[in-house]
Assembly symmetry: C2
Homo-oligomer: 308 residues x 2
């Protein structure tokens, strides 16, 4: 029998601190708007803190949420028969930022910890980590894409050299609008059901999450500062809103987290805070060949950003 080292308390403390730190940096970067805080509780089963920023100078809309839930494992989550008698624990941080300026990319990140225990003995039967971060630019600045990937590679390498190539590939596969045959953005890292093994302890995975959460700041904020004061036209803005329509399509059609939240009757405003402030749909819209918009589309596929 495997010896599990519970990370319930440690991980929950970790995401609370990350939420504080990240919202602080975002408010400072915005310079105007402040997060609105909605703390919520679910009788017996958990709590969360939804923090939303709207109508800022830099950030048009965004949220940095944490939630800590537990209870009997719902049927929809049971993957094999012996899990019937299990209690689960899930703790996570999730963020999305939609900036106003079309030259500043939208960003998403989320990190979570999951634990299964036997209902009767309360022994841990399984535990895993999941998460990732990905960038959705509207206009391509190759150096920004390289920077975002480089920081995440550095963070990954601190824990295990195999992480970045594996998680980068998984990210390209996951954030893909299959019905459009195009990626949501330029990727990043994505991982799920990562368990401790002989090389990497649960403690290592906790530290990896912390590094990745803090790395998010280094990966994203410099890009914001570099692009947030660029001039843009209504045409740039329209393009941003059309692409945000694709973001909506991904989140409502494909995103497992969103669909899981909707099916399990989670707090709807926390789940859908990821949706953009404005989106457009035009019939059969195609950018002009050779345009900056077309150049962006041409890169919505698997690209090895650290070797271009």
């Amino acid at each position: 029998m495997k010896n599990f080292d519970s990370k319930r308390e440690e991980f929950t403390e970790l995401i609370k601190k990350l939420q504080l730190k990240i919202t602080e940096v975002i408010e400072k970067t915005d310079g105007e708007a402040e997060f609105q805080i909605d703390n919520w509780k679910r009788e017996k089963f958990g709590f969360g803190s939804t923090r939303v920023i709207e109508n800022g100078q830099v950030f048009e809309k965004g949220g940095v949420n944490i939630s800590v839930v537990s209870g009997p494992l719902p049927k929809t989550l049971q993957q094999n028969p012996d899990e019937k008698e299990s209690d689960f624990f899930a703790s996570g941080i999730s963020l999305v930022l939609h900036p106003r300026n079309p030259f500043v990319p939208t960003v998403h990140a989320n990190y979570r910890y999951f634990e299964l225990r036997d209902k009767n003995s309360n022994e841990i039967k399984d535990q895993w980590f999941g998460g990732g971060a990905d960038l959705t630019p509207y206009y391509l600045f190759k150096e920004d894409a390289v920077h975002f990937h480089q920081i995440h590679k550095t963070v990954c390498d601190l824990t295990h050299p195999a992480f970045y190539p594996r998680f980068k590939k998984a990210c390209d596969e996951y954030f893909f609008n299959h019905h459009r045959n195009e990626a949501r953005g330029i990727g990043g890292i994505f991982f799920d059901h990562i368990r401790a093994d002989e090389n990497t302890s649960a403690q290592d995975l906790c530290e990896f999450t912390n590094n990745a959460g803090l790395g998010f700041i280094d990966a994203y904020i410099p890009i914001v500062n570099l692009r947030k004061d660029m001039n843009y036209s209504q045409q740039n803005r329209d393009w941003q809103e059309i692409r945000r329509g694709r973001y909506v399509e991904f989140n409502l059609i494909h995103d497992r987290g969103t669909l899981f939240g909707l099916k399990t009757k989670g707090r709807i405003e926390s789940i859908l805070m990821s949706l953009p402030p404005h989106a457009q749909w035009r019939y059969n819209h195609n950018p002009k060949p050779g345009s900056k918009e077309q150049q962006m589309l041409d890169h919505l596929k698997e690209v090895n950003w650290l070797n271009i």
Copy 2:
């Protein structure tokens, strides 16, 4: 063995004529924009005509599409084992109109015919009709809701007195955003898998579809003409776009037709032409108590419009 009366050719002719008639009336009502026509073909398996109007005086975006497809019944559509050896035929018209003025409601209608045949003998094994029409106002004018329902009741009664009450109820149940616990709009009629029986022949159901398709014009166009020149503010427009966000949520999360189209790799621009030109999402947006916006929300539930 039931004796089936195929309506392939007749129904297909019927929806072609409906498409012509409806697009003609819409262009006349708009007074400016014209439908863009995209005819498409799928090798062996069918054809369609996607007709889209954009940036009109009255209609900001809309489409009136027909499609006629056939072939071996896809696995995802097989409901019992003996359907393995079946060919299907499906013919339908589908329309959505998103007007510019927030006081003019969005409307949706679709009518379709389905046939199953034995692969070897080519005998018909089953046939049914489906469809409906529903109205999504942003501001409530009770008389408009009554008018829309009254016309559809009249059309239903021509074929069978049980149709309207049954189809009205099914509409309230189907066009419901379960994750928000609110209806998409004020309903209309909805029916699926309606088969010929001793009271109603396939011929009757064909005529019913034709009446309903033409009834759509009488049900909707007078409302457009009544409201299209009303003055509106940016605040009215914002509310319209927020509500259109809910329309997007319904179509991408719940609508069986959309999800079926996406899963079976249908023509993506035809399937998603139903999405609105502009949509907004604001965090936890709630209209003021007693406002016109709140009054609309209060009616997004089952209401007996013909007896208020």
